[in-house]
Every structure is written in C-alpha cells, then in structure tokens.
Amino acid sequence: MSPSESSSKPPTPALAGPGQEGLWDEMTDRQGRVRPLWSKFSAALNGWNSEHRAELGYSADRLLEDLGATYNVYNDAGGAGRPRRIDPLPLLIDGAEWRSVSAGLSQRARLLEVVLADLYGPQKLLKEGLIPPDLIHANPHYLANIRGIQPSGGRHLIGIGFDLVRNAAGNWSVMRDHTRSPGGQGQTLENRSVTASVLPGEFEDCRVANLAPFFESERETFRSLAAGHVNMPNVVLLTPGFRHPSYFEHAYKARVLGIPLVEPADLTVRERRLFLKTLSGLRRIDVLACRLDTDAIDPLEFWTHGGSGVPGLTEAWRSGNVALANAPGSGFGGTLALMPFLRGVCKKWFGEDLKLPFVETWWLGQSRIRQQVVNDLRHYVIHPAFTSGRPVRGSQMSIAERAQWTATLEARPHDFVVQREMKPSVTPSLEGQTIRSRSVIWRAFCLQTGTGSSILPGGLAMVVQDGGLVEDSQETGQVSKDVWVTDNSAAHAVEPVIRLSQPAVTRDPLASEVPSRMAEQLFWVGRYAERIELRTRLLRTTLRRLGGELSSIRRNQRDACFSILRQMKILQDDGPQVGRLPVMMLARLIHDAKYPKALPSLIRSLLWNAASARDRLSDDTWRVFNRLENLLQPGSSNPTVTSQLQILDSLVLHLAAFSGMQAENMTRGHGWRFLEIGRRIERSLGVLSLLESTPDTQADEVPALDPLLETCDSVMTYRRRHFSRPRWDAVVELLLFDSTNPRGVMSQAEILSKQCEMLPGERDFGLMPKIREHVASLVETPPSALTVPDRAGFEKRAAAFEQLSDLLTQHYFSHSVRRVY
C-alpha cells in the first residue's frame, strides 16, 4: 500500500486503530495500541472536538502568517509565492531513540568531512579505489577550481542537514545529506514558535527538548572560525536576496543568531579581505555564513553569466582572511551518487560500521549492480546523477516507459542514480477539522563545532503530499511540522519555549552599522509609504464627493478632485476609464494591479524595498505590511462608493499604524533616519504637487480648497486659524509656510534640516557640504517667497526637494554598474 492510499480512509474524529500494512505508524503499534511515547498526546488528541481541531489549525496558520513565513511572497511574477503551511501536530521522538540516531548522524558528519577534505585535497580515496574518479570528474557540484585550498577554520562543513525516513521495520535511515547549507532551520524555529504557542499544555507535558542551546552553540562556532584571534569577530549571513525562495528563512535565522543579514552587493573585497559597506565606511568581516550557491559566490573565479556574487571572495577565502560556512564546494558531499560508497570509506578509514543505515542507493556507473537494478526497476526511484532534474518512480511507469528507461540506463548508466522507493512512516496530521495519517520525512540538523558534533534535538518534519514523491516534499509539499524530542533529563527541560524573536543577548559589534544598500531601501520605504498615504487620501476625498445628493458645491468639488487627479497624471484621459462611471474609474485606481498608477503597484514597490530591509523592521510592522496587499483585493465587480470608502479608511489606518510604529518603536539609528528623510521629502513633494495641480486658483471661490485641506489632513488646523470659508492664499500659507502645521512643507523642511545634520560620515567629505547648504536653503524663507507662488513657483520648490533626494543618493547609495569580462 502506498502512503497516498491512506487518504481514502473515512474521516474519523481522531485517529486510532491498527497501523497500516507495510507502514510504520508512529503513534500506534501493529495491534492498534498507542505507543507509550504518544500516550499523553494521544489522549489530548482524542479529547478535542472538531471545533477545537479547526481552531487549532486556524490559530497555527495565523501565527505563521504573522511571522511572515511565506516563500518568496514578494515575487512580482506571482505564482511562485505559494505560502507554506504548518501542521500543528508534532512528530514525537523518544529521547533514547534520538540519542541513538544522533550518534549515527555524528559519525556521518565526521565521515562526510573526511571525504570532502580528501577529495578537495590529496584524493587518496580515489587512489585506494574507495570512490570512483568519475564521481568527481563528471560532477558539476565538485568544483575543480578550489581543489587544494585549505578551508579557513580547518573544516569544510559547519552545518549539515539530513533527511531521515523510518522504514516499515521501524528503523530510521538516511535518505539524503545536505552539505551545502543546512536549509530548513529557519522553518524549524518558526514551527517551534507556532506549535509551542498553540499546544502549550501538551508541550509542557511532553517535556520537549529545548532548541536554543544548539543555536547558541552555532553562534559560538561561527565566532570560533575567525582567523587571527580577533576579539569580537564580525559574522554575517549572506543571502542571495529577497527574491530567493528561502529568503525569509535566511532573515529569520540571521535574527535568531543575532548577526546581520547581507546581500552580495553589500560586500566588497579590498586587499584580499572581506568588508561590509556601511554608511560609516567599510567594516571587516571575519566569518560568512553563506547561503549562496557556490558558483554564485564570486564572478571572478566562477563562470557565472549573471556576474552575481562578490568579486575576490574566493581569493579572500584562499588567503585565510575570511572563513566561509560551509566552505565553497561543500555541496558536493550531498551528491546522491556518493552515498553507496560511504559505507566502505567508514569501514576502511574509521574501522567502523555505519551506525545509521541509509536508504538503498546505487550509482549505475557501478557495473556490478547495474543489471540487477534494471531488472527490478519498479522498486526504485531514478535520479539524474549529476544534473538537476525530477526523479522518476519505477513503480509509476507503464511497460513501455519501463522499457524505454531500461534502454536509457543501459546506454548511459553513469548519468543515473537509483534509490529504493521508500514508504515513510505515518503520523497523525491535522487537515482542516480532520486528523489523518500522513507520511513524514524528518530533517535533522548537525553542527560541527571545533570539538565534535552537536545534533539539534528536534528538526523539521516534512509531510509527504498525496501521491507526491517523497523526494519532492520539500520543494512542493510545503506542509511541515515540528519535531518534539521528549526527554526526561532535566538539562533539556529548563525553559519550555525559547524566545526566538529575541535577538542574541551578546551585542554584536556590527549591530549598529547600516549597510548602504539597506539605508537606500529604507529611504524608499519612507518615500513609498508617504506616497501611498497621500494617494489614498486623495482618492478618499474624491470618493466622498460621489455619493448622495449632488449639490452644486459638491459637484464643483468633485470636478476639482478629478481635475487634480488628471493634472497629477494619476488619471489619464486617454486611458480606458473614459466614459465610465466615476466610481469605476476610482475603483480601478484602488484595485488594478496592472495599472502602474494604481495603489497595488505602489504597495508592491513599498514591499519590494521593505523586503530587503526586513531585519530592520519589527514583526508588528510586517503584520501591517502583510495585510496591505490583501486589503486591495478586488471584492466585487460592482464596487460601491461605501465599499471603496471602507477599504480606503482601513488603508489610511494601517498606514497610520506604520508611521506610529516608526515614530514610537524604531531605534533612532541611521536606518530610521533615512526612512524619516525619505518620508519628509515625499510628503513635501506630494503637497507641492497638489498645490501645483489645483485648478481655478484665480476664481473668487476655489472649489478645490476643501478637498485639498482634507487630503492634506489640515482641515482642523485651518478651522482653528480661520473662521471663514477657505481662501486660496490662506490655504497656501498653511500648507507651505506655516511651520506649526505638521503636514505643511515648512515643517518637513525643518525636520530634514535637523536629520541631515545627524547624517553619518565626515561633514566635509564628498557631497556633504552641498547637502547641508541645500537643506539650509529649503528652510530659509526670504520675504519675497511669502507671496503666493504661481504654478512655476511650486514646481521650483518641488525640484529643490528632488535635488536633495538625488544628492543623498549620489553621496550614500552606490549606483555603480558592475561589468564582468
């Protein structure tokens, strides 16, 4: 029976009953008795009614969403950003069993390290015939360029992930080694945080082992890799960037470790040393936790056409000036084709048997076994040996397909690896209100410290999807659960939940530094947040004048609003809006994701910039951001004024929440400063653009004035000053020159002047004198300026703020283009 068939069972209130034929059931034995390990948890499970089960799932999803844990959610192309899901029911592992598996994994980690060190060094394994030379020669994951380099820190592998499955006999065995970087640790931490929150009682009852010591130990291990006995070594985590599917995981991990998250563009190599580009200059980096594919780390030494990476990084590493964890080329250790040879290496070099079995795996270049496997293809999964490509299950082949594969395998045996198809053990899994049996793969993690190995007491349990390939579950399944190692030893049960959202206690010397790129991104977060707010207010002001009875005043105001929208080129007359109902035209500006002037595309730009500065923004900020896009989902094809106003009101409140958090909760570092400066520049530009677009300013009664004050949130201020109907000159005075109006241009200029004084760097260096001079001119109000400017006057003022933006960009943000030849 295949794992997928378990779903055909009728839903039962809670799962009980005999284990399925040929599968190991984690919770019950063959006689249908609950295993002692699960007794408490099973009792709890049986006590839940369907409502409680639904509530559990809902809470878990919600918590995960709040952590922002979706894969690549900011992918503009859409589609790839399917959210990952969590099953709150944990996989339980008995403490004694965990210790025995750990011993096997430690041995395996030691073995993989020795194999990598030899194959990137003297290659005795090839000379002794323990590993066929073709396995490295044909393998693109084996990087010939770096052969002979002694990794700084003395070892190749720091973190390793292992995929384990439990077979029908109840034995855990290794299905895959992940030696490039231990992916999934961020998810593990998220799952722990969510599961322990929704199942607090069960978590306590099971005496679940704490994950924190492992990550503390990892932080220490990274530090210990620094060459040259630096007192406080600088460690950073290098991610390919927020478009990478695992970006969130990288960000989360960096935060747990309390180290900065950086992208390749943040780093530079000077005199064969690695530096982080910060606002206050270059900062030496001693250790790099690297999450890039090796051939993407350095465009100088690896032939990558995109030219991504950090030029010179390989040389810095070769010179021993920076440690990389894991070392470049380590991914080769996880090659499936290597697996069948590890047993022999362990026997010959360690004099030991493998303590932990592995799933039967054959490289078909081994002529001895080829015929036997090909005859028995239906029991195996075929993998390309050295290229990426989807594995194919022999059990799913038609007779014709099998014949075709047999021919292919006989013609090009070296290109394929086969692994026996596994039926992993099943465990209770919550799906909606129902609990079903689902197959799981356990990803365990190992850390190679200076003195030995440490295994995480827990891990990531990946749920195998219906009819899905076991091998695919990480990429396509995206349903995972926590692993609880239940341990009665007091050492592990001190603190029930580790405080994962807390940054490391030790203050990192780099913590206060802001990478230049991040400052730029925060600057644009400020600009977009403000742009969205003003746009939202303008749309709301317009909408408010659509419904109800149309008095002549309201009609004139409505026309004035549309005139402003056109003048500001938000509404374009040649667009498809012409001739449609006004409410439809506005709805398009609120919902149309494809129209660049509409709110969704502005929000995407905001998120795009915020995503790269994720670790500078609080969880609460992300909660607000995560909801922005959903707010604008088009609700019905027939929008009403009321429904649209509700949406805009809600949007205004969310944006106010963000600016409140920025004002109240963000540390006043340079990151905050650039966000604030961006916001102030944008607000000035917005007000000036509104004034410039106001129609009929020469008329006795200017119909746009009420909407203008409303959009600029200055109605109350105006009323307090003037007890008359709004006058153009008085409105301009209030919005332009009155420094007590927090929405006015003058108070923005004053804030800019204050913040620019506190910008980092030498006051006389580069463009700084020019920036200071320019800001001063913004605050000055020559008597002549007090007269009401004409359209050109507003334009000139706006240009001055634009120029400040340009000066800051030139001085602080790198705009250089990289060339590779």
């Binding site: 290659q123 090839l126 000379k127 002794e128 015939g129 066929p132 030379p133 073709d134 490295i136 020669h137 044909a138 010939a144 360029n145 770096i146 052969r147 002979g148 530079t268 190599v269 000077r270 005199e271 064969r272 465009p299 100088l300 030494e301 032939w303 030219g307 030029p311 010179g312 040389e315 070769r318 010179s319 705009h815 250089s816 283009v817 990289r818 060339r819 590779v820 030849y821």
Partner: protein, 297 residues
C-alpha cells in the same frame, strides 16, 4: 634533431574605461607553465595602476594564476606580460604504434585513480564545452572502430581545418559551440572548443590549451593564421604510454616548436588570460597586442 628555440614574448592588454572605475578585481593566466618540452626562466607582469592586493597561486590544473585588485578611481588598466621561453624539440610517436582510441576511452573509466582515469577529468562537459550527440556524430567518421588514436586525431584535426572557415567576424567570446558547428566558421578559441566538444562527446579526454604562436613565416612557407593575439589549441590524452598530444585545429598541424603553452584547463573559462570584474559606469575598449620574437641562437 633541431635545437631548442628561444622566444621573448610581450603580451600587452589595455582596457580603456569610458567612465571611471572605482574598484576592480582581476585574475590573470599569463605566465607560461613549465613542461618537459618547455622552460620559462623569466616572467614578469607589469600592472598599471599599481594594484593594492596581489598574489600568485597555482590553480587546480597547475597553472600559475595571478590575482590582483585595483582600488581608487581609474580610467585605464594596462597589463604587460613579458616572458622568456625555451621550447625543446619533441617527436610524435608513430601513429600506428598508438593504441586504438576505444582502448584509451575505456581505460579512462577505471574505477580507481590511474594516470588514465586522472585524465578522465577532461572528458566531461565544462562551462563552455557541451557534450552532445551532434558533436559525436561529427567526429565519428574519423574514429572508426580500432583506429589508432593518433591517426584518428590527425585526420579529425585536418578535417576541422578543411571544413571550417577562419573568420573573426563570425563569432564573439560568447558564441555557443553549437553555432560554431552549424556555421562552420570562427576563430582559434571556437575551433578548440568545437574539437573538445566532439572528442569528449565520444568519451575521450581532451583539454584546452591557451598560449602563443610564433607567426613569422619561415622561408618558403605560408604565414600561419592566429597572429597578433594569443592562440588556443587542444590536447588529447592518448593513453598512459604516450600521454597528452597537442593538436592545433586552426592550422591543421601538430604543435611543435612554434607553439608556446601558457596554461591549460577544461575550456577557456578556466584559463582566460585576463579576467576582471569592475565597479563603475560606462563601457570599455580593449586592445591586445602580442609579440612573439625568436631570439637568435
């Protein structure tokens, strides 16, 4: 038996950048490597502006590799490599005495590291050299069953020389080998890559050689193509006894004393004479000048 020939080689590479470059990183493979038939008693690399970080290491294939960085605004990079090289005479084996090409192919697949299976490293696809059936099909007419490997190599090299047109406008550095095969035109680097693709596609190990060619026409002989630039050819592994034998498909000859080897690798990407990554705006102009002068004995 001819005597050793001595050369003085000057290889100058200049980059003129349109906009100022602020930082640049480079990797050079410009020092001729020592061989049983070649000595390089003297080599120097003159780099302007003065690099801030500079180091020399031996890469995975044993080539001398120079890494350097230039910091501070610069609009020009000038790299002059000067070498003194002595090339000894060598003799090719009798083709009939070399093993059948399939014997060499099979020996390279040994499950244990031997000289042959070590050479096996060079029989797989590499960044610029794909392995595919169309390449095998092009090569096979010259590799009938049982043919001695050197005889097959000579026939195949001469066929490429005959059937392909030397044309500097036909390709650039990024032209895929598939296009070279289809268009039957290119320069020395293309012919070397094409020949490697064909040879590897039938399972034999072959490597890319980067070097120079003396282009002064000897009396009564035609001037050889490939002048005034660095040159490229290939080397085929012909079994444990005969080792690696070079072949120059651009000129249809076996290199002797007029080919100077600088470096070898799986393809051009391993041994690019001067590779660089610059940070700065604008385009660039490249000029390369190579002079290979024979010293009077």
């Amino acid at each position: 038996m001819p005597a050793a020939v001595q050369y003085q080689i000057v290889h100058r590479t200049r980059y003129l950048y349109e906009g100022a470059v602020t930082v640049s990183h480079h990797l050079a493979h410009l020092a001729p490597r020592p061989l049983p038939t070649q000595r390089c008693p003297w080599h120097e690399l003159q780099i302007t502006p003065q690099p801030v970080g500079r180091s020399v290491h031996s890469d995975a294939f044993g080539n001398v590799t120079t890494y350097f960085e230039i910091e501070g605004r610069h609009t020009e990079l000038d790299v002059i490599s000067r070498s003194f090289v002595e090339v000894m005479p060598s003799e090719l084996p009798d083709p009939a005495a070399t093993p059948a090409w399939e014997t060499v192919r099979d020996a390279c697949q040994a499950p244990m590291l031997t000289p042959s299976s070590a050479a096996g490293e060079f029989r797989f696809a590499s960044p610029m050299v794909p392995v595919a059936r169309e390449f095998a099909e092009y090569a096979l007419p010259d590799f009938p069953p049982g043919r001695p490997i050197l005889a097959a190599l000579e026939a195949f090299m001469k066929r490429i020389f005959r059937e392909f047109r030397f044309d500097t406008r036909a390709t650039d550095v990024a032209t895929p080998v598939h296009d070279v095969l289809r268009n039957r035109a290119g320069v020395c680097q293309d012919f070397a890559h094409l020949m490697l693709a064909c040879i590897r596609s039938i399972g034999l190990p072959a490597r890319y050689i980067s070097g120079y060619l003396e282009t002064l026409p000897p009396p009564g002989k035609p001037k050889l193509t490939g002048a005034d630039a660095s040159h490229a050819w290939i080397s085929l592994f012909c079994g444990d006894k005969h080792g690696w034998i070079d072949a120059d498909p651009t000129n249809g000859i076996f290199p002797a004393q007029r080919h100077i080897t600088v470096a070898w690798g799986r393809d051009f990407s391993d041994v690019s004479p001067l590779r660089g990554v610059t940070l700065g705006a604008g385009g660039q102009r490249l000029s390369v000048g190579v002079d290979v002068m024979q010293m009077e004995g």
